[in-house]
């Protein structure tokens, strides 16, 4: 009986040690993951900002006026119906 208890005790100790080691290693892995995900989410956020800014820049009037000459936007594109109301009033 005494020997049985002794064996159980040692097995229990070894198990405890193994679990402890396992938890420690898991903890380290978790910290690695956290660190990785933190860095990744920061990177994605910054990339998101950059893409958002590019999208807004392409949508801006500044960009439109810079490409207007190449797209052949000229003064003749302005409406003339304020001077010739016959178009608007179908005279």
């Amino acid at each position: 009986m005494k020997i049985l208890f002794k064996y159980i005790f040692w097995i229990f100790l070894i198990l405890l040690l193994a679990v402890n080691l396992g938890l420690f290693v898991n903890g380290m892995n978790l910290s690695n993951q956290i660190y990785r995900f933190e860095k990744e989410s920061e990177r994605l956020h910054r990339e998101n900002l950059s893409l958002e800014n590019k999208a807004y820049e392409i949508d801006s009037l500044k960009y439109a006026s810079s490409i207007a000459p190449s797209l052949n936007f000229t003064n003749s594109a302005q409406p003339v119906y304020l001077e010739n109301l016959k178009y608007a009033l179908k005279r």
């Binding site: 690695n32 660190y35 409406p79 001077e83």
Partner: protein, 552 residues
């Protein structure tokens, strides 16, 4: 016992190995990594709030940048490092040498690096360098609204701070609150899970939505630029507002500055002339006095005045602008031909006490309360210090110094039924969990609805029967008034230098917009009718099209 001894010996040897390794890592050859952050407490910088126009189009955003720093004590080969960095950044070798001071532990080399520059420097694998993540302001429309937005500079502690315009006045709302992260980290910079892990998230700045319409701002700025060139003016301002609500739809003054490179401009450029500069308004002030006299029932719209020659006030002679006198003219004709002597008559009928009272009623001498940093209230000297000549010249807008925004809001009250509105630019402030809308605010009543309708009719007549035949948009009734004010220089007026202006509104029956155009020292002609007025009508045409206003 032997088994126990073996176990004990095993653990003892294990401990020796661990202690030796620790000794090696911490004493003999300490681990050196640029990415290690030994601080357990780190500040998390909030993102600055964004600024949008009335159609939710962005005017100011944030972009991700990097701050390049150096730890001089960790640099092995300083000349090589400086040469390599300079080949990418082009800062100047002597500048880098002075910045990388070997006596210091940590120095900033350059802020605002983009991703490409950061990657190039990172790939050099130079010891003693590191990067901090930062944000910088990004303006997709560049300097379209320079004076409205202001810029973001640094304070004494090197932290971001807004100056002038919206960035200045709303700096606290836009800045947000920093967060804090308290974390136990190991030598590799990885968090220790079982250690302290506390995080207080930053509160990002609030976003602002403006009353400014980006498209109207673009129209107005382009027209002003062309106008300054065409008329050879030194500087100019244009403000567009909704006269019923006080919303500022566009505001531009030239010269302005580059919001990205504000540090290359002197402080004079940052001042927003529309709200900070005082000027004598000239004849565009006349309708205010006319409306006051009608309101006080001192004159009626169908009254007549005998314009028979110059008027003498306390030894000063007041003449019309062209020294021509038409004899018996209607009250409306006084405005149409912008008669100074006629306005002196109206002022005398109104009375000095009433005239002074209406200056205060119209809001002169006090801030309008517009939400831009740097507003000037102007100055109305106390009533006991006024002389007869002061009252006389005030009736035609000389001898009184006001700001363009004060003029615009006072004039707004003439055409909107007599409500002096508070001008405003921010219509909504939003954060993650709340939204605050800013409603139009009436400061006070200036005139009655009846007087407002009368003065509107007179202003329409002023445009239709003015001295100059302008290229008005056909099919629309537009009201307005020209102004040509001489500039006071060291106690006298320089007759060759003027401030030419025009203030107008359309459509007359139910005004959708009110525009004030001011040109300083135009060279082609000193007269507002030949410079500011044509510019106004060009803008009015574009705005009528933009707002889809049907002909009347």
């Amino acid at each position: 016992m032997t088994k126990l001894k073996i176990l004990l010996t095993f653990f003892f040897l294990l401990q020796i190995v661990i202690i030796s390794r620790l000794f090696f890592l911490q004493v003999l050859k300490p681990f050196n990594s640029n990415s290690v952050n030994y601080l357990t407490t780190k500040k998390i910088y909030p993102e600055r709030g964004k600024i949008f126009d009335k159609n939710s189009q962005p005017l100011a955003l944030n972009k991700a940048t990097y701050l390049l720093y150096a730890e001089p004590k960790k640099i092995k080969d300083k000349p090589e490092l400086i040469e390599k960095i300079d080949s990418i950044l082009n800062v100047g070798i002597s500048t880098l040498e002075s910045r990388i001071d070997s006596n210091k532990k940590w120095v900033v080399i350059r802020d605002g690096l983009d991703k490409t520059q950061m990657k190039k420097i990172h790939d050099l694998n130079l010891e003693g360098l590191g990067f901090e993540d930062k944000f910088k302001r990004f303006y997709p429309e560049a300097s379209l609204s320079a004076h409205i937005l202001g810029f973001v500079g640094k304070n004494y502690d090197g932290e971001d701070r807004g100056y002038f315009g919206i960035e200045g006045l709303y700096d606290k709302d836009l800045s947000g609150f920093p967060g804090v992260i308290k974390s136990d980290k190991d030598i590799l910079g990885l968090p220790i899970i079982i250690g302290t892990q506390q995080r207080l998230d930053p509160e990002n700045g609030r976003d602002l939505y403006l009353t400014i319409d980006k498209s109207v701002q673009e129209i107005v700025k382009n027209k002003l630029k062309n106008g300054l060139e065409t008329y050879g003016a030194k500087e100019g301002c244009i403000i567009v507002a909704n006269p019923k609500t006080g919303e500022i739809t566009a505001l531009t003054c030239i010269p302005d500055f580059d919001v990205d490179k504000y540090y290359e401009f002197s402080e004079d450029y940052f001042k927003n002339s529309a709200i900070s500069n005082l000027y004598e308004p000239g004849s565009i002030f006349k309708p205010l006095v006319m409306a006051a006299a009608i309101e006080e029932k001192k004159i009626k719209p169908d009254d007549f005045y005998n314009e028979d020659g110059p008027v003498n006030i306390s030894g000063y002679t007041i003449r019309t602008w062209n020294n021509k006198y038409e004899g018996k003219i209607s009250i409306t004709r006084i405005l149409e031909k912008s008669s100074n002597v006629g306005m002196v008559y109206v002022g005398q009928k109104l009375g000095q006490k009433n005239l002074y009272k209406y200056l205060k009623t119209y809001g002169f001498g006090e801030n309008t309360g517009i939400d831009l940093q740097g507003e000037s209230s102007g100055y109305i000297k106390p009533e006991p210090n006024w002389y007869d000549i002061d009252y006389a010249t005030t009736t035609f807008g000389q001898g009184i110094a006001i700001t363009p925004i004060q003029m615009l809001m006072a004039f707004s009250s003439l055409v909107n039924g007599g409500h002096l509105m508070k001008p405003y630019i921010v219509s909504k402030i939003t954060s993650n969990d709340s939204e605050k809308k800013i409603a139009p605010k009436e400061q006070r009543k200036t005139i009655s609805l009846r007087t407002s309708e009368i003065i509107k009719k007179m202003l329409i007549s002023t445009v239709e029967n003015g001295e100059v035949n302008w290229a008005k948009p056909k099919g629309y009734q537009i009201g307005g008034k020209t102004g040509t004010a001489q500039i006071p220089i060291q106690g006298h007026y320089d007759t060759s230098k003027t401030i030419a202006s025009f203030i107008g509104f359309a459509p007359a029956k139910d005004p959708q917009f009110l525009v004030l155009v001011i040109l300083r020292e135009p060279k082609t002609s000193p007269w507002g009718s030949e410079t500011a007025a044509p510019l106004f009508f060009e803008i009015a045409k574009d705005l009528i099209v933009y707002y889809n206003i049907a002909p009347e």
